[in-house]
Symmetry: C2
Amino acid sequence: MPGPIQSLSRAAAILRLLAGGERRLGLSEVATALDLAKGTAHGILRTLQQEGFVEQDAESGKYQLGAELLRLGQSYLDVHELRARALVWADDLARASGETVYLGVLHQRGVLIVHHVFRPDDTRQVLEVGSMQPLHSTALGKVLLAYDPVARGELGEEPLEAYTLRTLTDPADVDAECALIRERGWSDSVEETWEGVASIGALIQDRRRNPVGAVCISGAVETVCEDGFVKPSLVASVRSAARAISRDLGAGRF
Amino acid sequence: MPGPIQSLSRAAAILRLLAGGERRLGLSEVATALDLAKGTAHGILRTLQQEGFVEQDAESGKYQLGAELLRLGQSYLDVHELRARALVWADDLARASGETVYLGVLHQRGVLIVHHVFRPDDTRQVLEVGSMQPLHSTALGKVLLAYDPVARGELGEEPLEAYTLRTLTDPADVDAECALIRERGWSDSVEETWEGVASIGALIQDRRRNPVGAVCISGAVETVCEDGFVKPSLVASVRSAARAISRDLGAGRF
DNA sequence: CTCTTGCGGTCGACATTGTCGACCGTCTGT
DNA sequence: ACAGACGGTCGACAATGTCGACCGCAAGAG
């Protein structure tokens, strides 16, 4: 039976739809958006609601995502082997560099943040675990693009979105950059996604050298860069953290 | 068609099963655990995998939860109205009290943490958003039990699990405690779940007085209590935060 | 080295199951 | 009071998911 289960695919589409739109959606909105009969959409929504994946606002009757998703998302993190092994190294990296540390994995057309260590100062920061970053304009994304053919495949050949003046928007330019990244073994991104923010990334691989994720540090251009380039000492810290995590991951299997 | 969609319920059961067990599960394990034919279980797993809800370990063939769940869980938080409105108040409460602040909602048989503000000192703390706390032994849980009939229903009449010597295990005792909580308008829990930890909770309600969640502060017995009782000044802070959030929530609708 | 055992995965027949579109009651805004 | 749109229900139909036997493979036992 090598075909997806229809009702499940539809349910997933509904969940993604609800996740996409900021506001709650009504039954009819859902049905028309996905081109389903109202009855069908209702059946799926009712089941999802029973299971806790979707909640219905009591008075408006509109639907939104449910709490069970949060719980399952947390469970995902609990089981995640890469994350578990990287926790302590990420902490050390943040302390050594004085910058924010992100740990990400390839997911669909972006990088999903699975761990986030706050910059060790007292400024207010919001946790970004569970959010996505673009592939072509971040240190995490570019290092994955450079080493993971699947990531490169997701990118396509169309012109890419520009977030700042320095964003690479031509896939050919990105490929050239990736060649450089492979050559020197690390990636950087200076104001390619957010003005004033620079980051340095390195690849994490399992014991068979398959790319499984990436670490990066991210901070203000003023602290991460020097004379227009990222500081070599920070590069060294990131690469050594990535190596440590990779080693840890390889050892873990046996 | 007032019946749940079979394949969806089964998919949800599989996800919960994967979330429950710490380790990855094989196809046959899943099938036997849920009493499904292997082919059926495979079909569901294949679809879930395609949608990103489940991932398969390349070499062992075993299944675990997928990254899409983390993303959707995050989206749930983004849309969550209670959480959005409570963010700033929770921050204030943490600063004023010097203790950890939790924000929780009723979910199944427990309290799901939807927001967590770290104690404002520099000790290492792990984020508990997405995790669950028991109903009968925490400040968050007991205040929900006291005001939300649904929560009380979930509790049942069976003896409850004891986490410490001070845990209330007899539902009748819990009911008596709830009466007290309703009378004075706040809940506390001193070493009922974790040794050395005390917390104070208060109810959050929408504009029609429906209970929608709870806030609490939680900290070491030594700092939260005085002469064997929780400090009245902290109680006042928590209650005033809960009122503020409730008011905010009510005002938001129009 | 071969045989056995268990694994993940596939296949095709069957009938259960989800789907569809018309229909109902209600609420809202006109 | 009306019209429209909403969420939700119903029952007929057939498309759909389910089942259990089967396949190839890898690991472990003999």
